[in-house]
Amino acid sequence: MAKSQKTSVGRRGFLKSAAGGAAALATAEVTSPIAKAQRENNAGGSTTAAGVPAPTQEQLARDAGNVRPPAAVRLITRPGSDLMVQTVRDLGIEYAVANPGSSFEGLQESFVNYGNPPNRMPEWITALHEESAVTMAHGYAKAEGKPMLAVLHGTIGIQHAAMSIYQAYYDRVPVVMIAGNDPDFIAAHTAHDMAGMVRSYTKWDAEPKTLDEALLAIQRAYNEAITPPMAPTLVVLSSELQKDNAPNARVPAYKPPQFVTIDATHAREIARGLIEAQNPRIAVGRLRTPEGVNRAVELAELVGASTSTAATNGPMSFPQRHHLCGPGADTAYDYMLGLETGGAQASITGPTLAKIVSARDRDDIGFGGLTGGGGGRAGRGGGRGNVSAPPVEADAEASLPLIIDEVKRQLTPDQKTKIQERAAKHSRANHDAHVEALTKAVDAKRAGWNGSPISTARIYAELWPLIMNDDWCLSSPSGFSGGHNTQLWEHNKPYSYLGGQGAGGMGYGAPASVGAALAAKARNRIVINVQTDGDLNYAPGVLWTAVHHKLPMLTVMHNNRAWHQEFMFVEYMAGVRGRGEDRADIGNTLRDPYIDYTKMAAGYGMAGEGPITDPAKLSAALKRGVSAAKRGEPYMIDVITQPR
């Protein structure tokens, strides 16, 4: 890791030239028409009583806005930050999000002014808090399978963002971050090793000393972020590199990363196993990108395997209602392949974060769950309790084309016929299993249907018919609000459900939803955020960002006026100690006063309605909300709910 060793000579040199320029301008002013006129006026003896010369006509005209100031001389015609923006643009990054800060003023100016058209690909997104900025990038990446950029302001911005970085890291989500560093401005905003503050939970960082290194560092930060195990990366860029003229610098050619795949022999073995099995099964965990999901579907269809999915746990997994997804016609599977999850005969899973942590957690902080091979998606969405084969450490998504090619090569016409017959049986069985499970689930959702406060099940049930024929994304974790989507909704797109927070940290739902809505905006998609009340109160300013950028996002408050899980914890603890169980509400409830979320939203310019306590009024409100979101007008509905 490079430390910031560069002296400020360059910058001082720049300041010196700027001062020289200013002196030259001052000299020039002596002979300017205004100065001349002023001298003439003074010569005429026109002064105020205090001896101050009276303003000239020209000055008065300029003060009134009737005269343009002289054209400024452009000292910097090709700032380094223009090339930084070009580098980001070439990577296909759609958005850069930041809360403003002086340490990246050069970069921000380039983002908004450089290029034709400026401020497009990436577009500059305004955040009201760095924690929101990084979580927006977190939500965006989960929806799109690729990173956006978060720009942070020096030491203070990085520390504001720290929680979100940790959460994205734990979630194995790619986020590219740039932090500005201005060693000559405010001492408290700079540090010798700025990235060190978050090194234990970023995958890679750099503090380049030259512009050429900086451009390469941005490219590498992108590659490191998207390569398993995916994680946030950070490049610290000095304000000097951003601002200095760089007439001869060029954006280096981009080299995409190499993904580790299984070898050809292993691909052949897996293909043979799937083809020769009478009843193969493919368990699909969380892949990297939508393309990986497409490949998983292609493989399952080629071999007629029933599949399991992690689509009700998070993004980038097998479509839940694909005809092959489900237990299938026969649950005695004789060959099971795991893709980013366990499989009885073969399992391909990317590297865990443990390796990175062991190299980068230099202070031996030892974050729970990250050092023991956990802390990642591997293992989620697994395969019905099967004993797993030792996993091959490779990227399942990148390995899929090899397996598919092998299957295509090995398949005989007879086998193809057999596979089609098997797939048809699976299709019928999976359909029946789905309808049976859904019927059972729906029966349970009747409970408290007409009750007030409103049941969380009714929120999800009423929402589903309103969005089921649209392109939608449920961006908020649903665990605290009953997880009803997992039973009632159909998660068929890679981004249908974005899953949990990563590290279980609160303050995630709203900003992640805004990030998902950034992804949705240009794709005719709407984002549903069923927002727990405690979570929203961490950084509600993100609602303003949604309004400002006209994002297609509906927020439905799961307003139970408490942190109910913690309420239960304290209640239990008081019971163990045999005292004061009628006091467990202290510190765990949000009442006296109740928070008015529609007023909060209105303060940020967001339309909405509520609080709704009558369940009969819910559906119409949700309909209005969905319509508003489709128009790109974020909307909030405050619903007073049952605790869970």
Binding site: G369, V435, A447, G448, S455, G479, G483, F569, Y572, G575
Partner: protein, 157 residues
Amino acid sequence: MNKNSNRRRFAVGLFATAVALYAQGGGRGAAGIGHTPPPTSPVTGNAANGKALYYSYGCYACHGYNGETGARAFVGNWGNLGTEERFLAFLRGRANVAPIPPSTSMPNFGESSLPDKPAKDIYAYIRTFKSTAPELKDIPTLNAIVESAKQEKQTGR
């Protein structure tokens, strides 16, 4: 590693598992509404007092505002609540259960925290609870969800 850290790690593991199960919707609601008929045994407490106690003792946090929603619905599953005596025994039944991980299980309510009288008042109140669940045929939204699933063609992407 000392004993405490082992214990803590185990506890955190259990907690994580519990959270994961909960997050996946495990253990709640999916099995359908219970159909145990409401008890008819005698009630001695004061339901009006019990209502206030039901809230102040946080019962609603797990059992919902009328015992039929939330993480631990009991309307239709009256097993431990069949009689006042069984309810009291159930309240006092876990005095020796003190798991290390945070728990959302039924807490113990010892006499020192919830004496018999208010406990009986709570019982009187929850005995007023009745299932309000409409028949499925009377909920068009839920019907439509099932019908839609029955008729749909599965996606092939």
